[in-house]
């Protein structure tokens, strides 16, 4: 059963009087519990597609449905609420808030819920244990290595137990060893915790960790 359904999706940027199409009329289905890798050269629109799925950008046309909810029909306010409940986002540059500790960074999505402080603590510590950083809860990002920072970011992405995890080049800024650890962690999230993952990368070794690979090039999406 498809968790994510994309139909006839187009994204066209307007630069002065010139219309630049990133992709046109693409379709994509991702099943629940699938680990799909999206590859393609720089500028092919991989990140744009991720942003559209997360409701961070608006498509020119087409529909995106996640778990039966049409993301493309939601208001900004509905999208914010939907993201906090259903989507975990992992960035290439981790994007942790430098003034918050690892614990506080992971706790951020839970501030939007009705959980008590004690419940939030339990969730955060569980997430930190999953990513193997429960002993670094009080460390600030500057006190962590790149790989550890990315693990904190993954903890933040999974703490609210989202159905869909979107990862944009999560190993792009890491050395080979750290990248391998991150990919192993993502595989574990997919296999042990049944998370549906869409991983964007142009690294073939990272792509091999997924269950299926798709290519986006010159506006065309192929398996």
């Amino acid at each position: 059963m498809a968790l994510l359904e994309i139909r006839d999706l187009s994204k066209v940027y307007q630069r002065d009087s010139q219309a630049i199409a990133v992709f046109e009329d693409i379709d994509l289905d991702i099943d629940t519990g699938e680990f799909l890798v999206l590859m393609g050269p720089s500028g092919s629109g991989k990140t744009t597609l991720l942003n559209l799925i997360a409701g961070l950008d608006e498509p020119s046309s087409g529909t995106i449905t996640v778990g039966g909810l049409e993301v493309t029909a939601m208001s900004r306010r509905q999208l914010a609420a939907w993201r906090s409940n259903h989507v975990g986002f992992i960035f290439q540059l981790y994007n942790l808030l430098p003034v918050l500790t690892a614990y506080q960074n992971v706790e951020l999505p839970l501030l939007l819920t009705h959980l008590s402080k004690k419940e939030r603590r339990e969730h955060v510590m569980t997430a930190l244990e999953v990513v193997g950083l429960s002993d670094r809860a009080d460390h600030f990002p500057r006190q962590l290595s790149g790989g550890q920072e990315q693990r904190v970011a993954i903890g933040r992405a999974i703490v609210s137990d989202p159905s869909l995890i979107l990862a944009d080049e999560p190993t792009g800024d890491l050395d080979a060893k750290s990248a391998d650890e991150i990919l192993t962690l993502m595989q574990r999230l997919n296999r042990e915790f049944s998370k549906t993952i869409l991983l964007v990368t142009h690294d073939q070794r990272a792509a091999e960790r997924g269950e299926a690979i798709m290519h986006l090039d010159k506006g065309v999406l192929t398996r």
């Binding site: 997360a54 961070l56 914010a80 609420a81 290439q92 540059l93 808030l97 506080q104 951020l108």
Partner: protein, 380 residues
């Protein structure tokens, strides 16, 4: 409350900027509250005076005198119980900056009309007996360390400024509430003896019935309408307001300065908030990705601005209140009864809140409307 931590860490992210902004708001509010207190004190001064007393002054201006001959006729006006008179001496003791109000008055009649000054019997008699005697308020005794029997030399900015005027302090009055404790009184006869061209600066009438004030004023002013020295008769409060207006349009000036201060600090606070918000654009984009709504982010940025300005405002207002109350500040006697009133303090806090809301509005709006995808692309 769960977002308070976020607001706090953002405020402490650049401590120096936050503290400097807070201090500049505190300084501005201190200034505002101080200036505002000057106007409220002047307003209060306009309210001083009894309803049963009227003042008769020269119709042209209070700086022009009235003939001594008016006294006997004024006493015959129906409704007038007593008449007395006085002159502005503009005395200086040691230094011009040590200002206090000084008057030459008709000692035989003046204090019957002004029961607001309580003088011990023996001191009053000593004061009445001696032509160069002075009656001073307790505030002046405290301020200059004078004592009974001490002779002091003063000069006058009006009467022979180069001449020294010796006075012997023979009596000290304790004011009733609302009356200044920093006034200096001496014999009109002494002034007349030294300056033979002097004439009364104004007459004070004590009325039998305050409700007759309008009739009494109309009678007197009509009587002298075609005289060389026309009169203007008014209630003591109006007269007091005229004296206060001799400071010039201080209220307008002070309000203008207050508004200028407000806008200057608004720009400072707004600039600091804009810088802070601009530096964190990528973090705001990340928070949006996590599900923080536009409204929530708007509120968080606005709260940051409000915390800075309200804290600064509280600090400035408290500082002004404590400083002026503990030092008994009266601007060298120019502003007896000077105080930071509660309503002035409340106005200061209100302005700090408004300042926070206005200065935080633009960065809060920018944070709420931040395009996530474009901002994240810029960072990557």
């Amino acid at each position: 409350m769960k977002y308070a931590g976020l607001v706090w860490v953002n405020l402490t992210r650049n401590k120096r900027r936050t503290i400097l902004t807070l201090l500049s708001v505190a300084a501005a509010l201190f200034l505002f509250v101080s200036l505002r207190s000057v106007t409220t004190t002047l307003d209060d001064a306009r309210q001083v005076g009894s309803e049963s007393r009227m003042a008769v002054r020269n119709a042209i201006s209070i700086v022009f005198p009235l003939p001594e001959s008016y006294r006997s006729w004024l006493a015959t006006v129906p409704g007038v119980r007593r008449v007395t008179w006085g002159n502005w001496f503009h005395g200086v003791y040691r230094d011009r900056r040590d200002f206090f109000p000084s008057f030459a008055v008709d000692v035989d009649s003046y204090f019957d009309v002004y029961p607001e000054m309580v003088v011990p019997e023996d001191q009053e008699q000593a004061f009445m007996r001696e032509r160069t005697a002075a009656l001073v308020g307790t505030g002046l005794i405290e301020r200059f360390g004078w004592r009974l029997g001490q002779t002091i030399n003063m000069t006058s900015l009006i009467y022979s400024p180069d001449r020294a005027w010796p006075f012997t302090i023979r009596a000290v009055y304790t004011p009733l509430p609302g009356w200044t404790d920093e006034a200096f009184y001496f014999h009109y006869d002494y002034l007349y003896e030294m300056v033979d061209w002097v004439q009364p600066g104004w007459y004070i009438l004590e009325l039998e019935d305050p409700s007759a004030a309008a009739t009494v004023a109309a009678t007197i002013d009509a009587h002298y309408e075609n005289s060389r020295f026309g009169t203007r008769t008014e209630t003591e409060r109006a007269f007091q307001a005229g004296l206060v207006s001799m400071y010039g349009n201080v209220g307008l000036l002070i309000n203008a300065v207050g508004i200028a201060v407000f806008f200057a600090i608004l720009l400072v606070a707004a600039n600091a908030m804009m810088m802070s918000a601009r530096e964190r654009a990528s973090e705001v984009a990340v928070l949006k990705t996590l599900g923080f709504s536009d409204r929530l982010l708007f509120g968080l940025v606005l709260a940051e601005a409000a915390v800075i300005t309200v804290s600064g405002g509280l600090l400035g207002v408290l500082l002004a209140k404590l400083l002026f109350e503990t030092t008994g500040f009266q601007l060298m006697g120019l502003l007896p009864g000077f105080e930071v009133k509660l309503r002035t303090a409340a106005l200061g806090i209100l302005i700090a809140v408004v300042l926070g809301l206005i200065s935080g509005l633009v960065p809060a709006w920018q944070a709420a409307r931040l395009p996530v995808a474009r901002t994240l692309r810029r960072v990557a």
